[in-house]
Symmetry: C2
Subunit: 317 residues, 2 copies
């Protein structure tokens, strides 16, 4: 099957995209199973070997909130650095920032919410409060020459509030852009986006003068819509997409266990569209199959399900 | 979650589509579990109550080939007819046609292959041979005023031949159109299509003068691409889509157990796009959850996975 899919470009789509791998952070933080530090390091080193160049490594959120990633400093020390590969880490506040810097982080990501209710439930603050919490961290990073990514949760729907008005998302995105976030990742935290909604939001953001080159799209596949939504994002000119190797992870507030868009499913579509991404799909499938074994459950990725079972017995990793 | 997804139409898409339900036939014929006749009848009656208007009921293929559907005549007798609902049945040849007519079929579907190797492996004939086998059946149906749908397998890739040239598909589609098939369903039997490939094939078919209103698209979700491919089909103006309730079934020749596009996942996207289809998603999810229980395994549909587990305990069916 290595010669498939056929390559059929669609006119008007980008020639190249950046895949931003969130498996080690967004994936593992939402898995019930707590993975040991050594396995995390092997996983991240394996991801590097697939050609991925942006791999979010861990989170310096309080271990009381996210015990899955309590070993953030050890993971960062264990993976070291690799030429041409970025390893951003998530930081929630000043304490997290201090820990991240002490651990040698060279790029960070902060997170805020587009809805009041999720800001309250997940961050114990308000929409404004979350942005105010992030502001000094972003400024400090800028002074240290450290790139900052800003995540916005609940950009399409909220499990409590339902519909999320586009104007509300726009306001938060604009504030993160003004703060100096290099990239702003629009999160469909509960997976309810559909392709027209994606286009409407992107057009509205574009209308404020924020370029598509400053945006990333972060889809969850809860209702199977993630790839159709990526296609919509590609048509609008967005060139950065978050995905999780093997589809690991999810949102504890979403209704189902199906979480992040699987990197493999995204790579398959990009291969078909002839869009460059630099990733070796076969290696990635092998790695995700191995990781699914560590997590003790089948991978939710369709591509991993289809290809791993027939893969060569000798592991690449 | 009933108020989600938000409705955001995309300019240029059809306002309404026909969903052609293939679960009772294409789904059940590929399941290992042989479902009893009573359950099949309950399933089809349940599907009718969801608002579906085209439900392929069974297949008059030889029971030696497809033991799962050996009870075709009993199923057709058991479901009877219902106002405004079509129940096509699959017929492979003259013997199947005679059995179908004797059982009271009022609409049929025939099938051919776009590739020589699949024609050989699945039908024990050639591409030409399959069309010659179908020709008298189609003519007989036309004389009896019975509508005929033509399925073309392996329109995008073939597990043995790999890439399938568009010209090869075009030739088969044209011959089915000339024979008098009312609708021609383009099958991605092994799930390897991607959105650019879909557009390229549809544009090529359109170039021969065959209208998009004579086409249906039949995607498998083996690599997670089915909905992105539907989106591509919608942009090209195709208004009929095959799907299987709960995503049951698959192709025994494909690499994985993930088979047909789940009707629920399709309905979710159409709801978001504001495209009319007439189906009650909640009822369908309940029915598919019930059917997954009968099949003894979880539904591969993302929407069923997400919504069934929290559904009201009292069954609608």
């Amino acid at each position: 099957m290595a010669e498939l899919p056929d390559e059929f470009p669609l006119p008007g789509l980008p020639e190249q995209v950046q895949i931003y791998e969130v498996g080690p952070r967004d994936g593992l933080q939402a898995e019930k199973e707590i993975v040991d530090t050594r396995t995390k390091i092997e996983f991240i080193r394996g991801l590097r070997q697939t050609g991925l160049t942006a791999i979010e490594a861990t989170s310096f959120v309080s271990p009381r909130w996210v015990p899955q990633l309590a070993d953030a400093a050890e993971v960062l020390a264990g993976i070291g650095s690799a030429d041409g590969i970025r390893h951003p880490v998530l930081v929630p506040n000043q304490i997290g920032m201090d820990r991240a810097l002490a651990a040698g982080a060279t790029e960070i990501a902060i997170f805020v919410s587009a809805t009041e209710r999720f800001a309250h439930e997940n961050l114990d603050t308000t929409v404004d409060g979350a942005i105010e919490l992030a502001a000094p961290v972003v400024r400090q990073a800028a002074e240290a020459g450290i790139g900052v990514r800003g995540y916005v949760s609940m950009c399409f729907g909220d499990p409590w509030e339902g519909r999320v008005p586009i104007g509300q998302v726009l306001d938060v995105v604009r504030r993160l852009a003004d703060l100096g976030c290099r990239t702003i990742s629009l999160g469909d935290t509960i997976g309810v986006a559909t392709p027209g909604h994606v286009q409407a939001l992107l057009e509205a953001i574009g209308g404020t003068g924020i370029g598509m080159d400053r945006l990333a799209l972060h889809f969850h596949d809860t209702y199977g819509q993630a790839l159709a939504n990526v296609l919509s994002g590609l048509r609008c000119g967005v060139t950065e997409y978050d995905a999780s190797a093997g589809g690991i992870g999810g949102c504890p507030f979403a209704r189902s266990a199906t979480g992040n868009l699987a990197t493999e499913d995204l790579v398959w579509m990009l291969n078909g569209l002839g869009i460059e991404h630099g990733i070796d799909l076969d290696r990635l499938v092998q790695l995700s199959g191995w990781m699914a074994g560590k997590l003790g459950r089948p991978s939710p990725s369709r591509v991993v399900t289809a290809l791993y079972q027939e893969a060569a017995a000798d592991q690449l990793f």
